[in-house]
Every structure is written in C-alpha cells, then in structure tokens.
Amino acid sequence: MIKRLVLDVLKPHNPSVVELSEALSHLEGIDGVNVIIYEIDQQVENVKIIIAGTSIDFENIKKRLKEMGATIHSVDEVAAGNRIVEEVGTPQDKSARM
C-alpha cells in the first residue's frame, strides 16, 4: 500500500498544474495532491508532484499522467506500508557531504 509518492514530472504548459492536480486528486485511493513548478521552459515545465493517500495505485497515476500529456522523469520518494516513515539524517549523510 503506497501512502506517499514524490515524482519529478515533465509536462506541457497546458493542461495547467490546476487541471493536472485535479485529475490526479480524483483517482481512487488518493487523499491529497501537491504540484509545485520548479522550472519553466518555452514549451514545457518541470513539476514536483507529491501525492498522499491511503492506497495509491502507481499504474493509475502513470496512466493519468500520460493522458494529461506528462511524463515521469523520476520517482523521488515512495512511502508504503501501514505507517509513513520519514527520512532521517544519519552520520553517513554528513560524511558523504564532506
């Protein structure tokens, strides 16, 4: 059971982020959607989509995004199971940055 999904998506300017978020939020098993634009090009824009729900169907998400003319660049975060586990900092993260 996927409960949270963070996607990096490339989409045309139209349908807008409003229409895209509405289309995703109407899918079964989804409680909320957040779409953030972080890069705008002449014809396309890059958006970060955060989806939260009780039982997210990834295949449905992919299908709906394709219908809206968008493509998934990468799946940046997935939280699944009975409880959402947040990312925690570890000493390794610190050493990796040094």
């Binding site: 490339l10 045309p12 139209n14 349908p15 807008s16 229409e19 090009d41 014809q43 396309v44 394709k66 219908e67 809206m68 003319g69 493509t71």
Partner: protein, 215 residues
C-alpha cells in the same frame, strides 16, 4: 428498488444522461482551455459572420437594382451563397486548424521526447479542429439566413417583395451593427463606435452598389 432496477428506471436513465452531458461540457471546456481556442473561435465567428452578412447584402442590393420581383430567385441565390460559404468555412477551417494543431503537437512531442497520442492534448487537437470547422461554417450561414428570412416570408405571402427588401436590408444592417457591438465588448472599448464602424461597412456597400447600378 435494487441498483439494477434504478439503472433501468426513467429517473435513472435521465440522471445518467445529465451526467454524460455535464461530463461532455466539462471536457469541451477543458479542451478549449488547453488549446486556448476560445479567442480563435471568436475571430472565426465574427469574421465569417461578417462575410455572410456582407455577401447577402450584395445579393439583395444587386437584386433590388436590377428589379428582381421573384423572391424565389433571391432565396435560391442566398441559400446557394449560404451553402458555399458554410462548406468553405467547414473545410477551410478544419484543414487549417488541424494542420496548425498537428504542427504544435509534433513540436511538443519533440521537446518532451515522448509520444502524446492518446493524451488529452491529442484529443483536444482533434476536437478543436472540428469545433473551428463548426463555428467557421455555421457563422456565415446564420448571418446569411437572417437576411433571407423576409424573402422566405414573401414566398409564404406574409410580405410584399418590396417590403421584404426593406426589412431584409434593415435586418442585415442590424446584424452588422450587432457584430460590431460584440467586437466592442470583446475589445472592452466603446461598443457603439465598433457598431457604427461595422454598420458603416454595410452602408458603404449599399451606396457603392447603388451608384454602380445607376451608372
């Protein structure tokens, strides 16, 4: 009542029909928004509506000058013009709009490095090509039919032919004025001024045709 019975009952059928119609209009609105078609359709409507009115104005004034007294001649000529303008609008707009939309879609596919067939963008491109064809074809027919109505009424014996000429010219000029008012509303400027300009186009056409007829 079980779920299956409710589906087959009249209120159930009506409810589903209303739902489908609502979904169709929602989808249409989305397609128009995605393709930003509304301003283009407005242009098609005004431009071809204007064409329809002016063409019929020419036919009516020309018929008046040569003294046509048979309404069926004007009705036939008018309907012929309607048909030609309508078909020209439908095919012209469909082909033009489709070519432009396909070009845009292919450019977008190249930019996104993905296939957009089956997406809402592809569906919207197909839909708005038909929508443009409908607006482009229907607008001259609509404005032209307004000008023919008095002559159709003459055929049924409601109007005398010379009265039909006067009523038809008045209706045509009113149509041109209305198109101008609508343009003024779109431009958010003086509607009466726009109305006066489009009305002047009609008056100039009548004047020039009368002068040429006198020569």
């Amino acid at each position: 009542m079980s779920g299956e019975d409710e589906k087959l009952s009249l209120p159930g059928v009506v409810k589903r029909l209303i739902k489908r119609v609502r979904a169709f209009f929602q989808r249409t609105r989305m397609y128009l928004r995605i393709t930003q078609m509304s301003p283009i359709a407005r242009r098609y409507f005004i431009k071809n509506g204007f064409d329809g009115s002016m063409t019929l104005l020419g036919i009516i004034v020309g018929s008046w000058i040569v003294g046509v007294t048979k309404p069926e001649i004007i009705v036939t000529a008018g309907l012929g013009a309607c048909l030609a303008m309508g078909l020209s609008g439908i095919f012209g707009a469909y082909m033009t709009e489709r070519a432009e939309r396909m070009r845009h879609l292919k450019t977008l596919e190249d930019t996104m490095l993905s296939d957009l067939s089956g997406s809402v963008l592809s569906d919207a491109s197909d839909f708005v090509s038909l929508y443009a064809a409908f607006v482009d074809g229907a607008s001259p027919i609509l404005t032209a039919v307004i000008a023919i109505i008095p002559f159709i009424l003459t055929l049924t014996g409601t109007f005398a032919i010379w009265d039909a000429y006067i009523v038809s010219l008045a209706l045509t000029l009113a149509t041109l004025f209305s198109l101008g008012l609508y343009l003024g509303r779109i431009a958010k400027e003086n509607m009466l001024l726009y109305g006066a300009i489009t009305l002047a186009a009609g008056v100039i056409t009548i004047t020039v045709a009368l002068i040429l007829g006198a020569i």
